[in-house]
């Protein structure tokens, strides 16, 4: 495993990005498979269903000019049922198992890493590795025997499986494990490979971009976007809420408080025309504040251009919360930063979230659009 990890590090140039590491893993795997096919032709026969059915199916392939000798060489299942090549059988089974393992390892990594909640279920992670092997083994035995299939159904019916999974996502992972096991058991490894690859790819993307977030519960940035826009003006040129209305709504005390507050915000956001000093908020729930701080800050030193501990909320009966103001480095994506923090701290955190503000980008877009409209009006 160490060699494989080093190889992936080499391919990804040491990148910690989960997507790159996953893709590197599949690329290395694909190359290994190609080399096996290229230099060990027998592997093709063993990896397909032909190994079990003897050489008859080989001869059945279209395009053969030289017929198979059914008298002197064929271990024909027609005349000698049960006389299959045991060594080939064993090799094919081993290959199926190794392939299943190779395809399920990245799935288990994704299962363990790509999640927002506190910790993963270790038994599910282990099941993801073992279950498809068992399914593949069962399918290899049952194959196309109706009698064995019925027997299997009977045996399975006699055993009660009553493990309930708390997370719906865990069920999806289990389904995937069964699918890969089925594909491997029927020796359609190409399908197993594509299923594994696409599943991981989609899952990492979903996790990275926080797909499915409740749009009715907007982020802090989005929550304040609308009223602030009303105050500052949609077109940036002038406020939509006139000063006289604010004068009626505010007292001198409240104005003082707001002035002081906006000065603090200005210090965080930066001057007009410059890039914002901070553009993201990292929130971490943890039971060990000092230890967590060490982990977080050492990672932030790597992934952030600048950062600042904004607030520590200490709770007695639940996890305490740490809030950091962060300006991420340009080359670091949100998902990568989160992964780095999680990896560094292990199971120390209850929850980690990174909320990235996009106000500057939106303002720039609005200005650009306004400029275009003006230019268009001038031309007309």
């Amino acid at each position: 495993m160490g060699i494989f990890k080093r190889l992936i590090d080499f391919v990804t140039l040491g990148s910690a990005r989960p997507m790159r590491r996953l893709l590197a893993y599949y690329a290395v795997l694909a190359i290994v498979v190609y080399l096996i096919y290229r230099f060990i032709p027998a592997a093709d026969r063993l990896m397909s269903a032909e190994g079990e059915r003897g050489t008859m199916a080989k001869a059945s392939q279209a395009g053969a000019k030289l017929f198979q000798d059914g008298l002197n060489t064929a271990p024909t299942t027609l005349f000698a049922p049960g006389r299959q090549n045991r060594a080939e059988h064993a090799m094919a089974t081993l290959l199926v198992f190794f392939s299943t393992l190779a395809l399920m390892l990245p799935v288990s990594w994704v299962y363990m890493s790509a999640r927002r909640d506190r910790t993963h279920n270790q038994s599910v992670a282990q099941t993801l590795i073992v279950l498809p092997m068992i399914v593949a083994g069962v399918i290899l035995i049952v194959r196309d025997s109706l009698a064995l299939a019925f027997s299997l159904a009977g045996v399975v019916a006699a055993v009660r499986f009553r493990t309930s999974l708390s997370d719906a996502r865990d069920v999806v992972f289990i389904f995937l494990a069964i699918a890969v096991g089925f594909a491997a058991g029927t020796q359609v490894l190409s399908v197993a490979a594509i299923v594994s690859l696409l599943f991981n790819f989609v899952l990492v993307l979903i996790w990275q971009y926080d797909f499915g977030r409740n749009v009715l519960e907007p982020t802090a940035a989005a929550q304040w976007e609308s009223p602030l826009k009303e105050l500052t003006g949609k077109t940036i040129e002038g406020p939509n809420v006139p000063d006289r209305d604010l004068m009626l709504a505010l007292t001198p005390k409240k104005v003082d408080i707001l002035t002081a507050r906006f000065k603090r915000v200005q210090a965080l956001v930066g001057r007009n025309g410059a890039k914002p000093r901070y553009n993201a908020v990292l929130s971490v729930s943890t039971n060990s504040i000092s230890e967590s701080k060490g982990h977080i800050e050492s990672v932030l030193d790597r992934v952030a251009k600048r950062w600042k501990l904004d607030e520590v909320v200490t709770n007695t009966e639940k996890a305490s919360e740490l809030f950091y103001l962060v300006r991420l480095k340009k080359a670091v994506a949100k998902g990568d930063a989160l992964t780095a923090i999680r990896e560094h701290a292990g199971t120390l955190f209850e929850a980690v979230d990174l909320e990235v503000g996009e106000a500057v980008e939106q303002e720039q877009l609005a200005e650009k659009s306004l400029r275009k409209q003006r230019e268009k009006a001038l031309i007309q």
């Binding site: 008859m56 199916a57 059945s60 279209a62 059914g70 008298l71 049960g82």
Partner: protein
């Protein structure tokens, strides 16, 4: 997002390409093995054939077989067999008018050609093939006769089709040429006329005769055909001529049986086929005393007792094959 997606797409395409490359590599290995029979292999096979032919019966396998060649997938519906005037073996497919030449001594597909109509292979329920007077005839179960000349490898051939209108009397499954009477013989698998139910029926079709008398019928009492065998009938699946005495030799797939009758309709013998045959659909006897039987790939109706631990599901498990025996 875009960058991640691009990476993903590139890798996905890469992995699929590798899978395709693996497939092509494997195919290339197969092609190397199957498409280019080298001289040494062919010589070895010919030697093995002669050795098997010379071996005493006690040493032969599969009920005395001299050779058995397993057909590739494209020939899985091998139906009828016939010999050309110079002794080459021809076979044909069941669903398409696809004819191929087989080297039965070395197990090689020599060539193949197809009858086409409007650029497309002719479809039909082809059940028999024979050669007569320099032409090849394909015969369908409903009595249509396709006449054409032998083609080169890969040729697409034109043909002449004649409807014998005998399909209303019989479901046919076999054709042979009796040169002594210059007639084609059509073996009837299932009679439609009630009065013929107790007979084995064959029709003669005189070539070069346009008169109404060109068709004649030969009937043999079924009880004579069955003899001491425990069959419930005899459903012919092909017919050939015994080159040594001119008798008619018929094979029945359902009964896995062999029958020889004289041109006059007297039964010479009726017996089970040698060896085991899942679906014997073609028969010929060569001038050098070889009986060749062609078996179509056995499908769902194959006998499960031949493969007791599995339920047969498709033809891949039981490929078509051509078996060579000594004759008599």
């Amino acid at each position: 997002m875009m960058r991640g997606s691009a990476w993903g797409i590139v890798t996905f395409v890469g992995v699929v390409s590798v899978l395709v490359a693996c497939d092509q590599t494997a195919s290339a290995h197969d092609d190397k093995k199957s498409e280019s029979p080298d001289a040494a292999t062919l010589a070895e096979r010919a030697r093995q054939f002669e050795k098997q032919l010379a071996a005493p019966d006690s040493e032969s396998k599969l009920g005395g077989a001299v050779a058995r060649w397993i057909m590739p997938d494209k020939l899985k519906e091998i139906s009828g067999l016939t010999l050309t005037a110079d002794g080459r073996l021809l076979g044909h497919g069941d669903q398409h008018a696809h004819v191929f030449e087989l080297d039965y001594r070395r197990g090689v597909l020599v060539k193949e050609f197809t009858l086409v109509s409007g650029g497309e292979p002719v479809k039909g329920d082809f059940e028999g093939i024979t050669t007569a007077n320099g032409s090849i005839f394909l015969f369908t179960s409903d009595g249509k006769l396709y006449e054409f000349k032998e083609g080169a490898d890969g040729a697409k051939l034109a043909y002449t089709m004649t409807d014998t209108h005998l399909g209303e009397h019989c479901e046919f499954e076999g054709v042979a040429f009796d040169k002594t009477i210059n007639s084609l013989l059509f073996a009837c698998k299932k009679v439609k006329d009630k009065k013929d139910k107790e007979f084995l029926v064959m029709y003669r079709w005189k070539l070069g005769d346009e008169s109404a008398s060109r068709v004649s019928k030969l009937t043999v009492p079924m009880e004579d055909v069955i003899g001491k065998n425990e069959w419930d009938g005899f459903h012919s699946s092909d017919i050939t001529i015994n080159p040594f005495n001119g008798d008619y030799v018929l094979v029945a797939s359902r009964e896995s049986a062999l029958l020889e009758i004289t041109p006059g309709g007297k039964v010479v013998f009726s017996q089970p086929l040698p060896g085991v045959h899942a679906q014997a659909e073609g028969i010929v006897i060569t001038k050098d005393s070889l009986l060749i039987i062609g078996d179509e790939a056995a499908a769902k109706n194959a006998k499960p007792d031949l493969h007791p631990h599995r339920v047969p599901d498709d033809s891949v498990h039981r490929p078509a094959y051509v078996t060579v025996y000594r004759w008599p």
